[in-house]
């Protein structure tokens, strides 16, 4: 099995999130959040919109959210994506 590249950004501190992105042959979003029930759809939307904006169709995104606002979700994903690109 080929080694799939993985990169991460963010922290597990309050108001932040840890975003881990890995190469994948499909688009998959795993979300864990302390506000999952209330904001699952909103967080997923930010992730999907950001991936679309950056042109990603296939990627595994794992987000561990500790109450991050939209700008933090977006920024952490952008940084993780930049770090992933640097590994290529």
């Amino acid at each position: 099995m080929a080694n799939l590249l993985t990169a991460s950004a963010g922290t597990m501190e309050s108001n932040d999130c840890l975003m881990i992105v890995s190469e994948s042959d499909q688009l998959k979003i795993d979300l864990e959040s302390i506000v999952y029930k209330q904001f699952k759809d909103q967080i997923e939307k930010v992730i999907r919109d950001t991936l679309k904006e950056k042109g990603y169709q296939k990627l595994h995104v794992h987000c561990q959210d500790k109450g991050a606002l939209d700008y933090t979700i977006k920024a952490r994903l952008l940084t993780a994506l930049e770090r992933l690109e640097k590994l290529k």
């Binding site: 950004a9 963010g10 108001n15 700008y71 977006k74 920024a75 952008l78 940084t79 770090r83």
Partner: protein, 285 residues
Amino acid sequence: MRRSLLFIPSNSPAMLQNADIFGADGVIFDLEDAVSIHEKDAARTLLDTFLSMYPLNHLEIIVRINQIESSIQSKELELIISDKIDTIMLPKATVSSTMILIGQLKKIEIEKKLTKKIQIIPIIEMAESVLEVKDIAKLERVNGLLLGAEDLASDLEVSRSIDSLEILMPRAFTILAAKANKIDAIDTPFIHKDDEDGLMKDAKFAKQLGMNAKACIHPNQVEIINDIFSPSKDEIKQAQRIIEAYHKPENMHKGAFSLDGKMVDKPIIDRALKLIDKAKAWHLL
């Protein structure tokens, strides 16, 4: 007009989103010392995304960048410069590094078609900076000087003391250079965040020397610093009396007149007008 400038670490969402609630006149989003070398990319992206979504229009937005000509500095400047930023704070400033920054800002402002001219606060925190401060203060876009005592102490190979005797001369040089060029003299932060008495003493001394603002490293310092660097009620009242007396027909065309047995002339009138402007700006009138 500045009294308090609060440092906010740029890689902390919890701090970023509360930046405007502490009552500081300006916030310094820090990309330098408060961010580890491995997190510089994350911090600048977080800050840029934050400012895009939450413009803080009622505050001066200052960004402390990394040292000029470091491998990360030009990249971060290109990402971070926008109409959302008012001022760049330049660490380890010299005449040469400030001029490089001016050139970089001009280029980016044209490329990004900015509607504003980004200003600069150089940090005077090396022996070389202190010696060059009068020339740094004259450069275009420089509208304030921040004395950085901690790095300066390292450069001078001295320890920092609670009475700050070791920075007396750099403080005086910074104030003279700022005042000679009619820009802000901003004092070094007081790093003992829980010592309120120490902060008051240090800030009052800085004000007495001529500083007109002070940087804060913790939100609990803002209120004390605002109080100390604001004109007092008595000072405002006295300034109003001076202006009232100046506007009396018998005094209007005199070079100097007398109030309460003391001479009042142009420098005193100018100082009173400036004090009233500050009092209005800070809603003390």
